[in-house]
Amino acid sequence: MSKYSLFLLRHGEGAWNKENRFCSWVDQKLSEDGVKEAQDCGRLLKELGYKFDLVFTSILSRSIQTAWLVLEAMGQEWVPVVKSWRLNERHYGSLIGLNRAEMALQHGEEKVKLWRRSYDIAPPPIDESHPYFLEIYNDRRYTTCDVPKENLPRAESLKEVLDRLLPYWDSTVVPEIRKGRTVLIAAHGNSCRALLKHLEGISDEDIASVTLPTGIPVLLELDENLKPVKPRQLLGDQVKIQAAIKKVEDQGKAKPTT
């Protein structure tokens, strides 16, 4: 019997998504299309009559911006928003900033496949020579995390994403859900996937083929042990949902430009 409702939302398009570059911990805002995705999502949730009590986001602007746009569309700007690096996108290490073509050229198709499909293999770590190293690690927000800056990741596998997400889920999100509060987690592709893997008990092999479309709210109905009582529901117009799923799958297949 469903006791709790949890909503997950993967933010929409940022400037680099258009170029098929790994954005990861680089702090970009939503593109115009990404803004529209968030607003559409908010309007849908409002039409469906949902009322949030609490919203969690990462500390990357695009997820916060998404949450704000959703709340604004719903007239629920007053709802508390709590932010944590533990909901950040997966850290792609030295691959940050590369597009899929460049990655294949630099590292070879096989390696790229391995990083993308494996659960526990991390890409090479980012180091000081990387063009985006300072932009990330000099950012003041990383001095406000619950681990010292020097202990923050330099690269992550999906497993490592879940390793740093799960303590936050258990200590901070779960107690709120158990109070009966309707929670929205507005985050990223991989932080949402990691959480889904945990909640739905998806295997290390199977998680590789799970992708969430952007801008489509995902409803999980949970029992009193926080186990899903039914499959996750992607809310909204089915045609729109199919188009969003296709968009994300096509990105994964992007041919390198010659």
Partner: protein
């Protein structure tokens, strides 16, 4: 030497301001002008290189959205934000929704004058018959307030009395820990903080109308006493106008 710096910002024009209606706890949105004011305020903070550690605002969207515009401008969207009903605008009770003409027609000019000039006389209560009773008093965001806490109307004195505990118990400790604080709120809740900081009299605070959309900066000593008058941030023209407007208020004919 300033031990601390505090920044306040009063939200700009709301859709109801445009119509000259008593807004209070009605959750009116910013008008386009109000959005522009917020962005301009954010730009002023960005130009001056301000960094914050923690933000406070009310549960009314015109203040929350003002804060959002500012945080977006200064690229600090990741800052923790605490929302509280205690920073809400003054509750105008039965006057909520009425415009100036309607108010005078309904209550008479003499009564309106009393309300405008009094520090501690509240307007009539918002009762169950009021158009906005359901949408305000029964709004989910106030579900945790006790019967004593949820107002049906407020004098300026009442507004200040429920804003200051939050200032003292939540905000002051953060300032004393060295956190740089930004507060985005409303004319009357900010008056509460200003009156307290500057030790102003009841008459003096009633004369003071804080400019909208302009960041107001206080430099405070270690006892949180202001080292000087409030400063405004912005381009020369905007700041000059704001300072003149505030100075003229004290001399305004009643």
């Amino acid at each position: 030497m300033a031990a601390y710096k505090l920044v306040l910002i009063r939200h700009g024009e709301s859709c109801w301001n445009q119509e000259n209606r008593f807004c209070g706890w009605f959750d009116a949105d910013l008008s386009e002008t109000g959005e522009h004011e917020a962005k301009r305020g954010g730009q002023a903070l960005k130009d001056a290189g301000y960094e914050f550690d923690i933000c406070y605002t009310s549960v009314l969207k015109r203040a929350v959205r003002t804060l959002w515009f500012v945080l977006d401008s200064i690229d600090q969207m990741w800052l923790p934000v605490h929302r509280t009903w205690r920073l809400n605008e003054r509750h105008y009770g039965g006057l909520t929704g009425l415009n100036k003409a309607e108010t005078a027609a309904k209550h008479g000019d003499a009564q309106v004058k009393i309300w405008r000039r009094s520090f501690d006389t509240p307007p009539p209560s918002m009762d169950e018959e009021h158009d906005f009773y359901q949408s305000i008093s029964k709004d989910r965001r106030y579900a945790d307030l006790t019967e004593d806490q949820l107002p049906s109307c407020e004098s300026l004195k009442d507004t200040i009395a429920r804003a200051l505990p939050f200032w003292n118990e939540e905000i002051v400790p953060q300032i004393k820990e060295g956190k740089r604080v930004l507060i985005a709120a409303h004319g009357n809740s900010l008056r509460g903080i200003v009156k307290h900081l500057e030790g102003m009299s009841e008459e003096a605070i009633m004369e003071l109308n804080l400019p909208t959309g302009i960041p107001i900066v206080y430099e405070l000593d270690k006892n949180l006493k202001p080292l000087g008058p409030m400063q405004f941030l912005g381009d020369e023209e905007t700041v000059k106008k704001a300072m003149e407007a505030v100075a003229a208020q004290g001399k305004a004919k009643k």
